[in-house]
Amino acid sequence: MASVPDDEDQEIALLYAWRAGDRGAGDRLMRRYYGRVLGFFRLRAMTAAEDLTQRTFLACTESRERLRVSSFRAFLFGVARNMLLKHMEAESRKAQTMDEFGVGRPQSVLSPSGVVAQRREHWLLLRALDRLPDESQTIIALFYVQGLRAREIADVLGMPTSTVTTRLSRSRDTLRSEVEQLRAPVEVRRSLLSDLETWARSLGALTESESHPR
């Protein structure tokens, strides 16, 4: 999953080519990252994930400024992160003003657009993640699920790399204690805690597996 620096230079070149009108370049980037960006959104905003993913890629071409980040994916997930924040803000405004009924359909976990978590460990992990503060969720998602390096996460969040390292370790501790506190079958909890990081990494494959790029 981790790309080598050569790849990263190439991806930045592809982005510039895409912005300049080279659709083939855009296509290559989309094919490489669509599922991953979708997975990123699915963890946090299931119902809007497809829409947010498309908007993220659109925003990549619309922006004209030079990249000041270490890699294309740091740039991409930075855009995605802003999309997510805006979306969540709008959602919470909507929840306050609109009547609760009729907003969205009940989620079916079998829905093709949903995360089909077959393992109980995954569900417990997702439930625990949901309880973390937004920033912790993002750091864990980017580090474990997306496999970004601390330096790249620092770019996404606009903070020093050292801060990311500290917060990552703190987030992991909080996650662990959430897993310990949530109501869950003993064996599932034990299995999850025995290798929390591997389970967290495996969420990547899970959120991407059912992707349907259009």
Binding site: M46, E100, P106, S111, R120
Partner: protein, 485 residues
């Protein structure tokens, strides 16, 4: 999609007039996660016609043995159920490799739509209680059902939610979609099972994938009671896991916070039904029904069917029954399992009765039919997806193995049958020009005027043997439970 040519037609959907066994497709109603739903009609003797809802499994799913099994399992479970408040399975068969199920047609709306139309205002309490009581009775009936040896079958619906509750304009309440119902005894490995049902209606133990029994349906019934009496969802949120956390932790707003004069006794009933701890919940749907009945009696709330019928008629008027007339352009040969079992196979169907009938555009004026619940997951999604309608309606679905076929050089012969696409929604696409003949499905035979006057079938319809007539349900049972009395 790489399917054999003889199955291509089902991907594009069935065009009006397609015959599946004794059923003739009138129009498409919508699409669910597992199946496509059609309004169709069942022809009987002497011009007798009856509307049925035809559920055709998605072709790409029938390749998957797992889904085919699931579909047949639903049919099998549903066919054992005979209750006025449970949607009845009338027939099960196979069409071009795809399974279909004919279900009782409910002329009305699903509860989700009714509540959505209320726009946050709860329906009259008597109506809400009537609905919950009826589902509760249906659930209790299913829960305590025993097989022929007298053993409890342990049926649990597992997906009780407003979209699976159909309400006829006459006030009949019907529970639909036993698609994820579970026969508890037969599956001991609940631990490894995947999550099934709708988030926000699934019980805490379902969310945790623990042992599930009738009390899970009691929980879901509690959510439905909450929702019909407050017009708010008990558990909602954008992220399924967040909803799941609320369900497992028992976090919900007291109805009295939402409805000013909410009866405290009713709130107690809701609270007990929504208990996170199964042991504290009502032990059965019946126990919950009894408490609601007692409450209604003491509070002097009228829960008779008339109250519900009156409410619906005030809200929706008296919508006419669906128009079932459709031109009979095609006469495919299909295998009806029921027919085979009852000694009528192979059937090569001719055109349906009265081929000179013209299709009636009146169909376009019909209201949207409320059959969302029958669609299973993602009910009603198709109505938001104009592309899907295009795919279905933009061209005719040539039918394979037709007893009558189309002349190779006559486009019109194919086009004619396609025109009577009954459009219920303005968003759906009407074919604007003559679609071309699909070379893969074209059958070079010299039949003429299939549209105006449907040709006689090449093969003679086999004479039906004189046999004691069986009811539809009996025949469906025969194929579902071969060998059983």
């Amino acid at each position: 999609m790489n399917l054999p040519a003889n199955r291509q037609h089902t991907i594009r959907g069935l065009s009006p007039g397609t015959r599946l066994g004794r059923h003739v497709v009138v129009r498409r109603l919508g699409s669910g996660g597992m199946a496509e739903l059609y309004l169709s009609r069942l022809d009987g003797p002497e011009g007798f016609v009856k509307p049925v809802a035809l559920k055709l499994m998605h072709p790409h799913l029938s390749d998957d043995a797992h889904f085919a099994r699931m579909f047949l399992k639903e049919a099998r479970i549903a066919a054992t159920l005979e209750h006025p408040s449970i949607v009845q399975v009338l027939d099960v068969g196979e069409f071009g490799g795809e399974y279909f199920m004919a279900l009782e047609y409910v002329h009305g709306r699903d509860l989700r739509r009714i509540l959505a139309d209320q726009k946050g205002k709860p329906p009259p309490l008597g109506c809400a209680l009537r609905i919950v009581l009826e589902i509760g009775r249906a659930l209790h009936y299913a829960h305590r059902l025993r097989d022929s040896t007298g053993r409890g079958m342990g049926i649990v619906h597992r997906d009780v939610s407003p979209s699976n509750v159909l309400i006829s304009y006459q006030g009949a309440v019907k529970l639909a979609d036993f698609g994820v119902a579970k026969v508890v005894e037969r599956s001991t490995a609940t631990a490894s099972g995947s999550l099934k049902g709708k988030m926000g209606y699934m019980s805490p133990e379902q969310c945790l994938q623990e042992h599930v029994d009738a009390r899970s349906d009691v929980f879901a019934l509690g959510v439905v009671l909450y929702e019909t009496t407050t017009a708010r969802r008990a558990f909602r949120g954008e992220q399924p896991v967040a909803v799941m956390n609320d369900v497992i932790d028992g976090v919900w707003k007291a109805p009295s916070e939402l409805v000013s004069d909410y009866p405290s006794r009713l709130q107690q009933i809701v609270t007990r039904a929504l208990e996170v701890d199964v042991e504290k919940r009502y032990a059965s749907a019946e126990a919950m029904v009894e408490e609601i009945e007692a409450f209604a009696r003491e509070a002097g709330i009228d829960t008779r069917v008339e109250v519900l019928a009156e409410f619906l008629s005030e809200r929706y008027g008296q919508p006419a029954l669906p128009d079932l007339e459709v031109e009979q352009p095609e006469a495919p040969q299909i295998r009806s399992l029921v027919a085979e079992m009852s000694g009528q196979a192979p059937i090569v169907e001719g055109p349906a009765a009265n081929p000179s009938r013209r299709w009636v555009t009146g169909l376009a004026l019909m209201g949207v039919l409320a059959l969302g619940g029958l669609l299973g997951w993602q009910a009603g999604r198709s109505s938001d997806d104009p592309a899907a309608s295009d795919r279905i309606d933009a061209r005719p679905a040539p039918v394979q193995d037709m007893a009558t076929a189309v002349p190779p050089n006559s486009e019109a012969a194919v086009v004619e049958p396609a025109v009577p696409v009954a459009v219920a929604k303005p968003g759906e696409a009407q074919p604007t020009k003559a679609p071309s003949v699909d070379p893969t499905t074209e059958t070079p035979t010299a039949a003429t005027e299939p549209a105006e006057a449907a040709p006689k079938p090449k093969a003679k319809r086999r004479r039906r043997k004189k046999k004691p007539r069986k009811t539809e349900t009996e025949r469906a049972r025969e194929i579902l439970f071969p060998g059983s009395p």
